[in-house]
Every structure is written in structure tokens, then in C-alpha cells.
């Protein structure tokens, strides 16, 4: 075997830059004193575009106002896959930092040559390059002489942390002014010349087939341009949005559907999940160094329901055909991945398809953004070259988009006579947590399953542990238990459509681990915080726990009706560290009064941005824990609106305090998913502290608390 070792002196390029090495694909200097920066990651409400602009400005030594961020598009942007998994800062940020460092160096070399001075004598301030004897030039003066159509090398090292001026400072987000002045920035608010409006008809049961449809009613609606029918996929196109609404309503009246497939019993998810055919993966095992005899074993089961993305905006897309080429505007998390799936459905080469990103409302994972893009493409195909805008209904958004998967988790712990953990077994039953577009030989888009010649429905899978895992995410203990076995049963049937939702399985697994630990600590009479610290070896982990304890003055004195609980996790076991303390109040109905969190993301590029993400994650997790559960009967999803799928309201939102532990010398990681698991566990443990009962099935509602109390008494 002839293996070539990498040259030791050349550190590897960041992965995103290695995959997209051409420097000009990342940034260009425009004539008017601006830099256009073109990342492959997209704004989904998390503020990433601002953080990336900060990184570029810092590395290039230019003012932030000179940076223009370009929306991702398959025409020119680097292909960075999907904006997910809290990886944008890690992947795009590092790539951009290296690309900018190299570009800066290339310009300095050119300036040194032109000005006839030593490169080390040059300085850059806001893009002006100057040297001894008052010689000066700028990026923009040199732009014509320097070609960036060259590949990045790994020879240039970015600045050290202390030399960065912007990273680490809470710069205001560049997208916020548009949003508070109501300027059209969202895809929903765009208009294209000659634009038509489309709506798609969908059955109540996802597997139902459209057996009959009468089009007369729809045809009678003023402004109707086309009715599209291909198998069970049906939709209308109208001159106006109002006309499209009326026409699809009429089409629904004339539609007859087959029964479809039965849905599980929503009140017995654990039995359903455990009874389904599944594929078993042993995620991790650890063998004890010495054998000790267990005095007893405790076994607990935890469940979480299906959870909806429930974005405030229904998904929206626009598409326009030109012969056999199509242009798509989308709020998808991955323009190249969507393009790959569209190519499969349309049987066109990818070159014929342009996918361009536009901002949508908050995105918390694989929602209907990609589905509606195919809807728009299929409807637009029927109207020649006019663009068609399609927007889903609230009902569609809440019932047809993929959900976060329900989970049943069982943990068994063998304890010695002192209640110390000897062995630990963690088993997960769940559908896969990922069925994203662009990753398989078949498309993942809803309409593709409905066509006359349908593609098979995609069954969700789990990313491997090396990428953070799926249902098994965060299932490997961060604690030093002597032995463990972690296994995951991924269902191979999927009556309810699931895919990636914030944290994938992380929220469920952290909830389960941190709950049973709390129980074991309580039985030993040991402080749950001390118990955790005693079982952790990682100082960063211990630091967030100590920091949150200080901040929340752990443990406040016992008061009737008030409870405190703690939860800890390191997202994906490799990402951000987060510890949370919840303060709750109540008896049968509980209120979360306050959440205190400490977080460590390494270098925080935009500290306020990180805090905003953690606050948001904490509040969203509180909503999941107290309220959220996708409802269904045996035939259809019934939680199709805000009344049936309530989320946390202003009057119910806890105070949230976040302490950020800054580590400027450690590579940054994302913050968007760090809080969910720890907050979930902290609330559940606080319920026990206040009421003396363990609620092991989410959401923690009045009914569940009463049931747990009855079980205890």
C-alpha cells in the first residue's frame, strides 16, 4: 500500500474551504469601497450573517459597514451543504476567516511590490494599506491587479485572538433595521414581475390518495390560471393570492380521498415505538476496569412526543420556468441540497436549476421550506414562463411538515449499596431524526411522494455519531460511570413524518440522563450539583456548572410551592457546554419563574448574539416542556392550529439570565441548540423539588402531574 502522509508543515484547510477552495467564491472587492462576502450558510433568524461579516471585517482590517453579505445561491456561492447542527460558525466562520487571512496576505504582497516597501512594514486600516514614508494604497486600488480566482492554500495563519477588533464584540445585527421598519426582507414579502399565486391541496391523512376531483368549482373562480393534477398532487394557480385561496377551497370541496394509513395511539407512544420494526445500533459501550456487585438496579422510562416546528410564518417559495430551466427562490437551509432533490424529481441536470436563498421566518430544523419549493416548481411548470409564489396554510404548516420525532428512552442503572452507579444502560426507540433533501438517491420532498409516478416515501435515518448522531445524540454519558452500553432502535416504519428539529434526539436524551441522575443523587441524599461535579472530569463542564450555581445562588432555601432543578449537557458531546437552573412555582399547574444558564461556546464571535440564541433556546425549550405535543387521532393530525398546538405566551415566559464564559483562544462552536436539553431536565428536576413527583413523560402538563401524584400516593 502506498499511502502519502500529509506534509507536516501545512496545517489542513478548514473543511468548508477545502471543499470550496476558490478564494473569489468567498469574497470580492467591489469598486465602491465595498467587500462582498458570499458564505454558503444562510440566515435563518440566528444572526449568522452578522457574525460572518464580523469575522471577514476583522481579518481584512476593514470597517464592518464595508461588508456586503450575499445571499446563498447555486449560481456562485460556496457549497456548504446545510445550515444546521449549530455548525455555521464552526464551518463557514473558520473557512471565511482563513480565506480572508489569505486574501489580506495576497494584497499585502501586491502592495509591497507596488509601493516598493517591505511587506512587514505595511499596515492596513479600514482597507487602506500604508507604509513608511507615507506611501499608501488600498484593497480597492489594487483589486484589478489581484486575481482571487485562485485556490486557498493552508500557508496563511489567521490573526491571533487578541488582534481581532470585532470578533468578541456585540455588534448590532445587520438584518434587524429592515425587520423593525417593516421593509420587505422576507421571501413572503417579495414580488416578481408578472407573479402568480399558487396553492396546493393536501389530504388530511398523508397517505390518502386523491381518487376523484371535480374542478368545476375552482374553474369558476375569477382569475384562475391553471389547475395542476399529477396523481394525488393537486394545486391551483391564480392571478391573485385571494383567487388562489378561493380556488383551492373549491377544489377541496370536489375532492374524494382514500382512507390512507392509520396513525398510532397518541396516548401510548412508548408502546407504539417499542412495537415497531426497527434497526438496532449499539452506539457505545464502556467496560468496567474492575467488577463490583450491584446491590440493586433502577430502571426508568422517559418519553417525549412529536414536536412541531411551528414557525410563525407558513413556508413559502417562488419558482419561474424558462424552457427547461427553472429558477427557485426559497428559505431552505441548503440551496444545493434542495437543487439535487429537485433534479431527481424533475429528471433534469442540476445545471438547469438555480436555487437562490431568501430569508424566511425562524427555522428550527427541516421544516416545509423544501417541500413548498417543489410545490412552486410543479405549479409554475403549468403557466409558461410566469413566476408562481406558493405559500402553505397554517394548517399545512402544522400537519404536513416533518415533525421532531417522538422518543421512548429507557435507562437502567446498577447501583452499589451506597447508591453509586456501577453500570448504565441507555436504550432509545424512535424514528430517525433526519430525512433531509439532497442526501439520498431518492428525493425527500413531500410532493414527490404524491405524484402519479410517486417516489417512495423516505424513512428517516440518523446521522452517525461522528456527525453528532440522531436519535442517539447526547446519549453517551459525559460522566465517568465505570461501564455503559448505549443502544438505539431506529424505526423502519414511519406513519408520522419526522425529520430534523433542533437538537434531534439531544433534548430527549439529556432529559432522561439528567432526570435519572437527579433521582439517584436525591436517593443518596447528595446535592445534585455536587453529584454531577464529582462525576465529571472535563474542567469546562465543571466550570459551567459552577458558574450557573454561583449565578443562581444554588441552592436557595426551600419555600413551599417553589422548586429548583439543574440540568447539564454538552451539545453533541463535542459542542457548546451549557448548564441550567430552573426555578418553578406551582402545584398541579406549574409556572417556570426563572431560568439561569451558563454557557461556553469557546470564542464567542458576537457575545450578545450567543446570549440571544441561548435565551431563545431556553424559552423555546420551556414551551416544549410545558405545552407542546403534536396531537392526532387514528386518521389525521388534529393539532393544526395555535389553539390545538399552543406555545408559550408572553405572560408565561420565565426570566432568563445567561452567563457567557468567554474562551477567545478556543475555536468557536454554535449556540442555537445548547440550551434545550439542559433546560428540559432542569424544569423536570425542579418539579420534583417542588412537588416530590417525577414526571417522565413530556410535556409536563397538569394532567401528567396529577397522574404522577396519583402514582406516588
Amino acid at each position: 500500500m502506498n499511502q502519502q502522509a500529509p506534509a507536516p508543515s501545512q496545517p489542513a484547510l478548514p473543511a468548508s474551504l477545502a471543499a470550496n477552495p476558490k478564494l473569489s467564491s468567498w469574497l470580492k472587492f467591489s469598486s465602491a469601497g465595498q467587500v462582498t462576502v458570499s458564505p454558503g450558510k444562510v440566515e435563518i433568524g440566528q444572526g449568522i450573517v452578522t457574525a460572518l461579516a464580523q469575522i471577514a471585517a476583522d481579518e481584512l482590517d476593514i470597517d464592518l459597514s464595508r461588508v456586503q453579505m450575499i445571499r446563498a445561491s447555486t449560481v456562485a456561492s460556496p457549497n456548504e451543504g446545510v445550515t444546521s447542527g449549530s455548525l455555521s460558525i464552526q464551518q463557514s466562520g473558520r473557512a471565511l476567516r482563513h480565506a480572508c487571512a489569505e486574501v489580506r496576505r495576497i494584497f499585502l504582497q501586491q502592495a509591497a511590490e507596488r509601493l516598493g516597501v517591505d511587506i512587514d512594514a505595511l499596515e492596513i486600516e479600514d482597507g487602506t494599506i500604508s507604509g513608511p514614508g507615507n506611501v499608501r494604497t488600498s484593497y480597492w486600488e489594487l483589486a484589478d491587479e489581484v486575481s482571487l480566482d485562485r485556490d486557498a492554500t493552508s500557508g496563511v495563519t489567521p490573526k491571533i485572538a487578541t488582534r481581532r477588533a470585532l470578533a468578541g464584540s456585540s455588534t448590532q445585527r445587520i438584518d434587524i433595521p429592515d425587520k423593525v421598519f417593516g421593509r420587505p426582507r422576507f421571501i413572503h414579502d417579495q414580488t416578481l414581475a408578472g407573479m402568480l399565486h399558487g396553492r396546493v391541496l393536501r389530504p388530511e391523512n398523508a397517505r390518502a390518495k386523491l381518487s376523484e376531483s371535480s374542478e368545476d368549482g375552482a374553474r369558476a373562480v375569477a382569475g384562475l390560471v391553471a389547475i395542476v393534477r399529477d396523481g394525488s398532487f393537486a394545486g391551483v394557480v391564480s392571478e391573485t393570492e385571494h383567487g388562489a385561496e378561493l380556488a383551492v377551497r373549491a377544489l377541496r370541496k370536489g375532492a374524494v380521498w382514500s382512507d390512507g394509513d392509520p396513525l398510532p395511539d397518541e396516548n401510548d407512544l412508548a408502546s407504539f415505538l417499542k412495537a415497531q420494526p426497527s434497526e438496532l445500533t449499539v452506539i457505545d459501550t464502556k467496560t468496567a476496569m474492575s467488577s463490583a456487585t450491584a446491590a440493586r438496579t433502577i430502571r426508568r422510562q422517559y418519553t417525549r412526543p412529536y414536536i412541531a416546528h411551528a414557525s410563525i410564518a407558513p413556508s413559502c417559495a417562488m419558482a419561474q420556468w424558462d424552457g427547461d430551466r427553472v429558477h427557485v427562490w426559497t428559505h431552505s437551509q441548503g440551496v444545493y441540497l434542495l437543487r439535487a432533490d429537485l433534479a431527481l424529481v424533475l429528471k433534469l441536470p442540476v445545471e438547469n436549476i438555480t436555487v437562490e436563498h431568501m430569508e424566511g421566518a425562524g427555522c428550527y430544523g427541516h421544516n416545509a421550506a423544501d417541500d413548498v419549493a417543489l410545490d412552486a416548481v410543479l405549479l409554475a411548470r403549468a403557466v409558461g414562463g410566469r413566476p408562481v409564489r406558493v405559500q402553505w396554510s397554517r394548517q399545512g404548516e402544522m400537519s404536513d411538515a416533518p415533525f421532531g420525532a417522538a422518543m421512548a428512552i429507557e435507562i437502567e442503572a446498577d447501583l452499589d449499596a451506597q447508591g453509586e452507579i456501577l453500570a448504565w444502560r441507555h436504550s432509545i426507540w424512535s424514528n430517525g431524526h433526519a430525512a433531509r433533501p439532497g442526501r439520498a438517491a431518492q428525493p425527500a420532498l413531500l410532493a414527490a411522494f404524491e405524484l402519479e409516478k410517486p417516489f417512495p416515501r423516505m424513512i428517516s435515518t440518523n446521522p452517525p455519531q461522528a456527525n453528532g448522531g440522531g436519535g442517539d445524540r447526547n446519549s453517551i454519558p459525559l460522566y465517568d460511570f465505570p461501564s455503559w452500553r448505549i443502544e438505539s432502535h431506529r424505526l423502519t416504519t414511519m406513519p408520522i413524518r419526522t425529520s430534523a428539529l433542533r437538537t434531534l434526539g439531544g433534548q430527549g436524551n439529556v432529559f432522561a440522563i439528567e432526570s435519572i441522575l437527579d433521582e439517584i443523587a436525591a436517593e443518596r441524599g447528595e446535592d445534585p450539583l455536587a453529584f454531577r461535579l464529582r462525576h465529571l472530569r472535563d474542567e469546562r463542564a465543571k466550570d459551567v456548572i459552577r458558574a450557573v450555581a454561583r449565578r443562581a445562588k444554588w441552592k436557595p432555601e426551600k419555600q413551599p410551592g417553589i422548586g429548583y432543578g439543574i440540568g447539564f449537557g454538552r451539545y453533541k458531546n463535542t459542542g457548546a457546554y451549557c448548564a441550567a437552573i430552573a426555578e418553578i412555582e406551582g402545584a398541579e399547574e406549574i409556572t417556570v419563574r426563572k431560568l439561569t444558564l451558563a454557557v461556553d461556546v469557546g470564542e464567542a464571535i458576537n457575545p450578545d448574539g450567543v446570549i440571544n440564541q441561548i435565551e431563545g433556546g431556553a424559552i423555546q425549550a420551556t414551551s416544549w416542556v410545558l405545552k407542546e405535543r403534536v396531537r392526532f387521532d387514528r386518521q389525521r393530525i388534529t393539532s393544526a392550529g395555535w389553539m390545538e398546538y399552543p406555545i408559550l405566551r408572553f405572560s408565561e415566559v420565565p426570566d432568563v439570565e445567561v452567563e457567557l464564559i468567554q474562551r477567545p483562544d478556543i475555536d468557536p462552536v454554535g449556540a442555537g441548540e445548547a440550551a434545550h436539553g439542559p433546560v428540559t431536565a432542569a424544569i423536570a428536576n425542579a418539579v420534583f423539588d417542588a412537588l416530590g413527583v417525577r414526571v417522565r413523560d413530556l410535556p409536563i402538563t397538569r394532567d401528567r402531574i396529577i397522574a404522577a401524584m396519583e402514582l406516588t400516593s
Binding site: V180, F181, A313, Y364, D608, Q620
Partner: protein, 156 residues
């Protein structure tokens, strides 16, 4: 087609449309005013809130006829980047949003509150915004921003 007249952001406006259609539909469609956002179409999320007279209402379940001869204010009429409303300044200062889709409705609820109660408590702000949903979890920042705007307005 009957016509309905009202003042939109201070400008006399006449619309020829079925008076039973929703105000949101008319604003976003015929009038091209896209600040109020569609969220649910059932008056349950507040993303489309506008001020009619002095009250914040959801435009999606407000029939056009009901605003005849009234003042309708949308986010576009609240302030501009040159002359921002104190609430808009405060939302920027507090970085009080994540995705921002709900914000145009929330600003209208908050503006109506500050008009009837110039110095609300934090609890009163939360009550006034309780009909507005935010999915990103920016609630506390928004409450802080409303209180900040109130203080600024009181200071003149």
C-alpha cells in the same frame, strides 16, 4: 365592486373590493403593504397586527368594511429609519428579535399599549403582547425594549 375608504398611515385610501374580505388580504394584495405578515389567518398569532383607530387588531380577521372612514396604521406608518418611532429605536438597541417575522405585529401591539398607557409595568407589557406569538424566544428582550421606549418617551 363597492369601494371602501379609510386612512392608511395618514393617507386617504380608496379600495374597490368585496367589503367582507380581510384587511390583511387587501393590504398585502391590492395595496402592496407587506409589513403586516400573514401567520395563521385566524387572529391567533398577531403577526398581522395593525392599529385601527387606537386599538391593535389582527388584520387577518378584520373585515375591510369595518375600517371604513377609520385610521389604519401599519408598521410602515409607525416610523422610518430617518424618523424612527422610539419603539423601533429600542428594538434595535435591545436587539430584540431573532427572525423578526412576528416583530411588525408586536411593534403595533406595543405602540397601541404605549398610547393608552405611557408607563406600563413589565407585567402590563406582557399582558398587552399576550396575543402575539414569538417562536424564537425573544420575548424578554421585546419586553425590555418596550419599557426602554416608554422611558425614552417619558423623558421627551
Amino acid at each position: 365592486m363597492p369601494s371602501v375608504r379609510f386612512r392608511l398611515n395618514g393617507v386617504e385610501t380608496e379600495v374597490d373590493a368585496d367589503p367582507d374580505r380581510s384587511l390583511l388580504d387587501i393590504l398585502r394584495g391590492q395595496l402592496g403593504v407587506t409589513g403586516p405578515h400573514f401567520g395563521c389567518g385566524a387572529g391567533e398569532c398577531g403577526a398581522c397586527n395593525v392599529i385601527v383607530g387606537d386599538r391593535a387588531v389582527s388584520a387577518c380577521d378584520t373585515p375591510l368594511w369595518s375600517v371604513a372612514d377609520k385610521d389604519v396604521t401599519t408598521i410602515e406608518g409607525l416610523g422610518t429609519s430617518e424618523q424612527p418611532h422610539p419603539l423601533q429605536r429600542a428594538f434595535i438597541a435591545e436587539q430584540a428579535l431573532q427572525c423578526g417575522y412576528c416583530v411588525s405585529g408586536i411593534l403595533m401591539s406595543a405602540a397601541a399599549l404605549l398610547k393608552r398607557n405611557p408607563s406600563p409595568t413589565s407585567r402590563e407589557v406582557k399582558e398587552a403582547l399576550d396575543g402575539n406569538l414569538c417562536r424564537c424566544g425573544s420575548h424578554n428582550r421585546m419586553v425590555r425594549a418596550v419599557l426602554r421606549a416608554a422611558e425614552e418617551m417619558a423623558a421627551g
